[in-house]
C-alpha cells in the first residue's frame, strides 16, 4: 500500500489529532500503518523515541492479529496496555490504520475510547483518499537514477 500524504491533508490530520489530545486528555497520539510507518503524531513524552514507539506498536498490533487468527477471531480491533503511570490504547480505524493513544491516569479509558471513536470518524474520509492514491511516474527535471551515489552511507573510523 502506497502512503502519499499531501500538505493540506497533513494539516487536517494534525488538527484532528490535536483536538483529540485536548478532548481526551491524552499525552500522545500516533497514526501508524501495519508496516510501521507513521502517518502523523501529536503530543510528546519527554525522552521517548516516537519512531521506535510507532514501529513496536505496529509489531504489537500485528502479533495480536496472529493471536486472533489462532483462536478463530477475524481481528481484535482494540488493545489496551495498563501501566503505573502511562497507559496505551490501540485501535484499528478505517482499514489498516492503527490509532495509538498514550495517556496518564489523569484521564480515563472511557474518555479515550469515546474520543478515539469520534476521531476515527473524522479521519475516515482523508485516510481513505490517502490510501487510494497511487504514485505516478516521474517527469523531467528530476535526479537521474544514475546519479544516485554509491556511498550513501559512510563507514566511520572508530565506534560512534
Amino acid at each position: 500500500m502506497d502512503i502519499i500524504i499531501y500538505r493540506e491533508e497533513q494539516f487536517q490530520i494534525d488538527e484532528i489529532l490535536k483536538n483529540f489530545l485536548k478532548n481526551s486528555g491524552s499525552k500522545t497520539v500516533l497514526l501508524i500503518t501495519p508496516s510501521g510507518f507513521t502517518i502523523s503524531r501529536q503530543g510528546n513524552i519527554p525522552g521517548v523515541n516516537i519512531e521506535s514507539l510507532a514501529v513496536l506498536s505496529a509489531g504489537t498490533f500485528a502479533s495480536t492479529r496472529e493471536i486472533a487468527r489462532l483462536i478463530g477471531e477475524e481481528e481484535f480491533t482494540v488493545l489496551f496496555h495498563q501501566g503505573k503511570r502511562y497507559n496505551i490504547h490501540f485501535s484499528l480505524i478505517v482499514k489498516d490504520v492503527i490509532f495509538v493513544a498514550i495517556f496518564e491516569n489523569t484521564t480515563t479509558i472511557g474518555m479515550v475510547r469515546l474520543f478515539a471513536r469520534e476521531t476515527a470518524k473524522s479521519l475516515e474520509k482523508i485516510l481513505f483518499e490517502i490510501k487510494r492514491r497511487k504514485r505516478i511516474p516521474m517527469s523531467g527535471g528530476a535526479v537521474e537514477p544514475e546519479n544516485v551515489k554509491r556511498d550513501i552511507f559512510k563507514e566511520e573510523k572508530g565506534d560512534k
Partner: protein, 199 residues
C-alpha cells in the same frame, strides 16, 4: 511501499534483512549502528531472547540522502531467523521496498539458506509481492570460517533466478562487506523510487 509526505518533505522506505537463524542479520545492523555517524541514524532497537536470538525484530532508522528537497529515510529491519517465528517474518515483510538476504557460508547451513530463501518467496507471495518487483541483494556471510562453500556454489543455490542480483562476501563480525551491502541495496531502492515516483 514507500511513504511520501509532502508536508514534512520526507520519503520513508523499508529495507529488511532476511535469512536463516544465526546467519548474522543482527550483527550487520549492530555494525552499521556502531560505525555510522549519529546524525545519520537513530537508536537501534533489538528484542532478543536469552540466547541472543532475535525474538521479534531489530529496527534501525537511517537517514539516507536528500533528493529534490525530500529527505529519504530508511527503516531497516531484521527478521527472526528461526522457523517457528514465521508469522513475525511475514509481518515484517509487509510494505518492504528492498531486501538483503544474509546467507550463512558454512557447508552445514546451505540447506537452511535454501529453505529460508524459499520461505521468503512464500511470505512475499502471501503479502501479494514478488522478488520480480522488489530490489534485493545477497550477502554470503562468515567468509572467515574454514568449512565454507565456494561463492560459485552459493550463486548456484541462491542466485540463478532470471534476474541475477549483486552479491557480497562478508565477515559481519569484523564489518567486512557490511557497508558495501547496505549501500548497494540503498542505491537500488532509491533508483527504483526515482523511476516510479513523482517527487
Amino acid at each position: 511501499m514507500p511513504q511520501i509526505n509532502f508536508a514534512e518533505k520526507e520519503i520513508t522506505c523499508k529495507v529488511v534483512y532476511y535469512g536463516p537463524g544465526f546467519s548474522g542479520k543482527t550483527t550487520n545492523l549492530q555494525y552499521i549502528n556502531r560505525k555510522l555517524s549519529p546524525s545519520k541514524r537513530s537508536e537501534l532497537i533489538s528484542i532478543a531472547t536469552e540466547g541472543d536470538r532475535t525474538l521479534f525484530f531489530d529496527f534501525l532508522p537511517l537517514k539516507a540522502m536528500v533528493i529534490n528537497d525530500f529527505t529519504i529515510h530508511f527503516q531497516v529491519y531484521t527478521t527472526p531467523g528461526q522457523q517457528y517465528y514465521n508469522a513475525t517474518r511475514k509481518l515484517v515483510l509487509q510494505g518492504v521496498d528492498g531486501i538483503v538476504f544474509v546467507a550463512d557460508s558454512q557447508w552445514s547451513r546451505q540447506k537452511d539458506n535454501i529453505e529460508s530463501f524459499q520461505n521468503m518467496m512464500d511470505n512475499l507471495e502471501e503479502n501479494e509481492m514478488s522478488l520480480l518487483d522488489i530490489p534485493y541483494v545477497l550477502q554470503y556471510n562468515k567468509r572467515d570460517l574454514s568449512d565454507i562453500a565456494g561463492v560459485n556454489y552459493m550463486d548456484f543455490l541462491l542466485n540463478r533466478r532470471p534476474r541475477r542480483v549483486p552479491r557480497f562476501e562478508s565477515i559481519a563480525t569484523e564489518g567486512k562487506g557490511v557497508f558495501d551491502t547496505l549501500n548497494e541495496i540503498s542505491r537500488l531502492v532509491i533508483t527504483k523510487l526515482l523511476k516510479e515516483s513523482v517527487v
